[in-house]
């Protein structure tokens, strides 16, 4: 596999994302597959951020440490990240922003000074076009032709008019020419094969797209990084998709509004993170008791408390599974990549409606903000299953919202859709939804609701496997570690170690099929991005089982294959 790692570092507000987006789109157009992750601080201007793009000639799902190209828009990029550049890698920096010490650091071969803003201005363009200068400069290391980059700029700035397009193209050409000239002896990578259409998008695009495909009609949310992208996506596309996205005064209002809408008969959701998710605990329990479908996206970030708002972690798993006073049925899904995010999000609505319960979809900052190229989604795979719903005709005046059935699922009636009255309560209730106090009805209702939990477990999504079939080493993870684990497994196998990756797209209830995997004779490690081993505890409590070891990251930074491999004990594999 040919891969190429480009990191663009700078302050918030300097246009990192713009440069990144231009390059991502152009590279995809050129035929590259890519994975690009973002690292930013909890501030609007200043600080030190980066976007890191990994290009490859086949699909990639994680990032690599060593850089082929480093683009520095600020001094910190040089002082902090220069060490990550591979021998032979290229550094492009803006000399106008470097202090004397940093300047000394770049007095090396392959370090190219390029005053991005100055170049733009010299060409009579506004400073902000520095972004295109930088993009052009990087492009020179990727291609001998600037055409695709120009095309990309034309598409991206089309709305702003011809002058802007041309301005951007001209400054990009300047950056391109300058770097091409200085790196003439350097070969550009072979142009990747294949030019089938692709999507390039982030988790925060794929999740709301999945929701829209599933027919979500109502969302309410309160902004919270890194879930805000989902919220703004639905807001932005609300008119086209005919969906209401109503900003709430707080997360409590958000989820309760969505519950109200769902009760009335539409697919409804909310999205939040950490503290906001915590505030939804009570309402989630209400949805469980009242048997109202609801889908909640929790985009995880490092806690406890406000923690590191813009970083990544998988530390909400325990509470997603446990949050509840009292027991009620639920499912917790944990997509591992952009494609899974899309399809699982649609699946979440089916689960929620078929079992009339809350479903939590765990995302995290790494999934939310990382771009990846994927084949176009297959919308025919999205099946909308609204569960057991009574038609107007069937719903006679003796309709019972909580009618006891064999499987615990009572037929739903949307209020106003028949003569029957829909009576719902979070207090314990009888089949008619009115409040009860007696022990017998209580027992029956608990059993009815929890019968659904058993069904959910029986139909739980199976683990997604990769690597060797009869492994000597098994790496088990969930959510956004999927790509890192897969790559680690691939590397291990290439080194002769029979490794297998086990990704759990559904973390609660865990699929029974996991039991068989756990009994395989391999040495097993659990890989997760939290301190205490929340997945490990979950598996332990379900299967009374402990792994041979665990690999955990809790500094707010995303996993990758190297992180995992570095932490595997020596000699863990016979092959290696």
């Amino acid at each position: 596999m040919q891969t190429l790692n480009i990191k663009i570092g700078g302050q918030a507000g300097q246009g990192l994302v713009s440069i990144g987006t231009i390059l991502i789109r152009a590279a995809t157009q050129e035929g590259w597959h890519l994975f690009a992750h973002q690292d930013y601080e909890s501030r609007i201007r200043g600080g030190h951020n980066f976007i890191q793009i990994r290009l490859a000639d086949r699909p990639v799902a994680s990032w690599e440490n060593d850089l082929d190209v480093l683009v520095a828009l600020d001094e910190a990029t040089i002082t902090r990240e220069l060490g990550e550049v591979k021998p032979g890698g290229v550094v492009i920096y803006d000399p106008d922003v470097l202090g004397q010490d940093a300047k000394t650091l770049v007095e090396k071969p392959n370090c190219i000074g390029l005053p991005f803003a100055r170049i733009a201005e010299e060409l009579g363009q506004p400073k902000i076009m520095a972004n295109s200068v930088a993009a052009g400069a990087v492009w020179a290391l990727l291609s001998e032709e600037i055409a695709v980059l120009h095309e990309t700029l034309a598409l991206m700035f089309a709305e702003k008019g011809e002058a802007i397009v041309q301005g951007n193209q001209s400054v990009a050409s300047a950056g391109f020419a300058r770097v091409r000239e200085l790196t003439r002896e350097r070969a550009v990578p072979a142009k990747p094969q294949g030019s089938e259409p692709r999507l390039v998008l982030r988790g925060n695009d794929a999740l709301p797209l999945g929701a829209l495909a599933a027919g979500v009609k109502f969302m309410s949310a309160y902004p919270m990084t890194p879930s805000t992208g989902v919220t703004e996506f639905i807001s932005e596309h609300g008119r086209i998709a005919r969906v209401i996205m109503e900003q709430a005064e707080d997360e409590i209002a958000a989820i309760n509004m969505a519950i109200g809408a769902s009760f009335a008969g539409v697919r409804a959701m909310t999205a939040t993170s950490g503290g906001g998710f915590a505030l939804m605990t009570e309402a989630l329990s209400f949805a469980g008791s009242a048997e109202i479908p609801i889908v909640v996206i929790d985009a995880m970030r490092p806690g406890p408390s406000t923690g590191l708002p813009t970083r990544t972690e998988q530390g909400d798993l325990r509470c997603a599974v446990a949050m509840s006073f009292g027991d009620f049925p639920r499912a917790v899904l944990a997509p591992g990549d952009v494609e899974e995010a899309f399809y699982l999000m649609a699946h979440a609505f089916n689960l929620a409606e078929e079992y009339q319960m809350p479903v939590v979809v765990l995302s995290d900052q790494h999934l939310a903000d990382s771009y990846v190229t994927v084949p176009p989604f297959d919308l025919s795979r999205i099946e909308i299953k609204r569960g057991r719903v009574v038609s107007c005709a069937e719903a006679g005046p003796d309709y019972l919202r909580y009618r006891c059935t064999d499987d615990g699922i009572s037929p739903r009636l949307y209020p106003g859709f028949g003569d029957g009255l829909v009576v719902t309560a979070g207090d314990e209730h009888g089949e008619d939804g009115h409040l009860i106090e007696d022990a017998e009805t209580r027992r029956r209702m608990m059993e009815k609701r929890m019968a659904k939990q058993r069904l959910v477990e029986e139909n739980a999504l199976d683990p997604v496997l990769c690597g060797a079939d009869e492994p000597e080493l098994m790496l088990i993870g969930f959510g956004s570690t999927k790509g890192a684990v897969a790559e680690a497994v691939e590397i291990l196998n290439s080194q002769g170690c029979r490794a297998q990756g086990v990704h759990l797209p559904q973390v609660f209830p865990l699929p029974k099929s996991l039991a068989a995997l756990l009994q395989k004779p391999a040495r097993k490690f659990i890989v997760e991005a939290n301190y205490s081993g929340q997945l490990e505890d979950l598996i332990a409590s379900r299967f009374a089982w402990k792994p041979d070891g665990s690999i955990r990251r809790y500094d707010g930074r995303p996993m990758n294959a190297k992180f995992i491999l570095d932490r595997l004990p020596g000699g863990v594999c016979h092959g290696s």
Binding site: V200, G215, F218, N256, M257, A261, A290, G420, V423
Partner: protein
């Protein structure tokens, strides 16, 4: 009032004999019968408390949600199906303590619902603790030396938030209350009906007798102009020898549904779900 009697009041309740809640539930039924509505087209959303039990005692759909969460829940339901007549019901603790934030913001959103608050000036169901509406000096289980917090004025607050319909009823005057509730339901937008409700068990201050001696109908005031917000705000502070009931303030403002009118041409709940509709949006992300 019309003769239609489709809304019935249940005999069995969990309320104390003599409770003001009985007057409220009867007024609600009377108002709805008077409007000729069908119970299957009416949705009650209620919180937790004695007041929150009301929907279980009168015909209609019921979404008996959490303590304090009536308003966002009702807002969501109304946006999903604007054909429903949505009536939110709760106590003063539910609405002004636990639910205070939603009170502010539901009004700001101006969703077309009616909000009836059983204002008994105590937490009834939890046995009589002070509510934001308790009069200063009232001794309760949590205020052994008497209530000291500034009482919350829901009418003045609603007007400050520019609510379009702000009224007060009295549980002891069912006819009047039913009329106000009808007007509230007919008002397009958020309508607050705060109802003075004697709690015969825990509130020994604000009793039927106490109210009977004080309550008077605003409509009796010749010069009262219910479109003058400034005057209405001032009026809402009258609480002593005389206590006004009636519609304090009413104006028409655009509702939340108006903002979403292009989406809500068909109620959300009647719109088709079609995965294919996402194709157009997906194209933004397609390259090549």
């Amino acid at each position: 009032m019309a003769v239609d009697q489709r809304f019935e009041v249940r005999q069995e309740t969990a309320w104390c004999p003599g409770c003001g809640n009985f007057g409220i539930v009867r007024a609600v039924a009377k108002a709805l019968n008077g409007l000729g509505l069908d119970p299957s087209q009416v949705l009650f959303v209620s919180g937790i408390g004695q007041a929150g039990k009301l929907p279980h005692y009168v015909s209609g759909n019921v979404l008996n949600t959490l303590h304090g969460r009536t308003l966002p829940t009702a807002t969501g339901a109304k946006l999903a199906n604007g054909d429903l007549t949505v009536i939110a019901v709760g106590g003063d603790g539910d609405g002004y303590a636990e639910g205070g934030n939603h009170f502010l913001h539901a009004i700001r959103k101006n969703v077309n619902i009616t909000y009836i608050v059983h204002d008994n000036q105590v937490f009834g169901l939890t046995k009589g603790q002070a509510s934001p509406r308790s009069d200063p000096g009232m001794v309760t289980g949590t205020t052994p030396l008497g209530v000291y917090n500034e009482p919350f004025n829901p009418l003045a607050t609603a007007m400050t938030l520019n609510a379009g319909f702000v009224a007060r009823g009295y549980a002891g005057d069912q006819e009047h209350l039913a009329r106000i509730i009808q007007a509230a339901i007919q008002h397009e937008g958020f309508a607050l009906v705060d109802v003075l409700q004697p709690c015969v068990t825990f509130n020994r201050i604000n009793t039927y007798q106490w109210y009977r001696d004080r309550v008077y109908d605003l409509d009796q005031e010749e010069a009262y102009d219910r479109t003058d917000r400034q005057a209405a705000w001032k009026k809402s502070w009258e609480w002593g020898e005389r206590i006004p009931i009636g519609i304090f303030y009413q104006v028409k403002r655009p509702t939340l549904a108006d903002h979403y009118s292009d989406i809500l041409d068909v109620p959300l709940v009647r719109q088709e779900l079609d995965p294919g509709a996402v194709e157009e949006i997906l194209s933004e992300f397609r390259i090549g």
